[in-house]
Symmetry: C2
Subunit: 117 residues, 2 copies
Amino acid sequence: MCPAEDFQEKRKKKMRAVQDSMDVLNGKWKISIISSICYYDKRRFSDILNDVIGISNRMLSKELKELEINQLVKRTVIGTQPITVQYELTEHGRTLQTIINNLTDWGITHRKKIVGE
Amino acid sequence: MCPAEDFQEKRKKKMRAVQDSMDVLNGKWKISIISSICYYDKRRFSDILNDVIGISNRMLSKELKELEINQLVKRTVIGTQPITVQYELTEHGRTLQTIINNLTDWGITHRKKIVGE
DNA sequence: CGGCATCCTTACAGATACTG
DNA sequence: CAGTATCTGTAAGGATGCCG
């Protein structure tokens, strides 16, 4: 295979990988939810609800379910009356930490860039 | 300020930053579009249209406009007949490269994780 | 407390056709 | 080629209320 073809193929592969990631993290809430959980070992439903500004419980519920299906989050029902549910990142979910950190840094830079000019 | 309050405040700040980033990169196309451009110096409209699987020209047009407003992408009209338009990342847009790379790596890992089990 | 069910409204986004 | 215009369906997502 010539170098040009090789470059094309690798590029396509990378682009597919990026799309895969974005499919998992789709919607406007996923990353925020994960970043709400990631600074703690475990985090309760209502705590996340408070952290993620603007989200409704209906959405949070739905999003958490998707994250669970994608094995990023683990759900544990704790006790009774009133019931408590803990969410924590799985080992796989914790591998998103780097991305979260980068997005955090970038967000700060971007805000300066946009409002600062 | 006590350490606990300090922790809270820093966390909230980080979460806001992540949300800022995600607001800029919202929708399911932005990151893919950027990653289509980033492997080249300049990239034409129809090239991006080809790279980003599933996107319509209507959407691509809209998304590119938003990226331009956020100063991530620069648009240049080249010649005539037929007209050609080049898109390139701005310096600021190029700072997303790290995030793209991380998302690429993570996407590959995630696919293995999900389909491999 | 942590949801789910329902209703409802928007915005997202596809298909198609058209223009400079 | 690089879009814009219009028309349309779908689904995201908010509001509210109910339940174990």
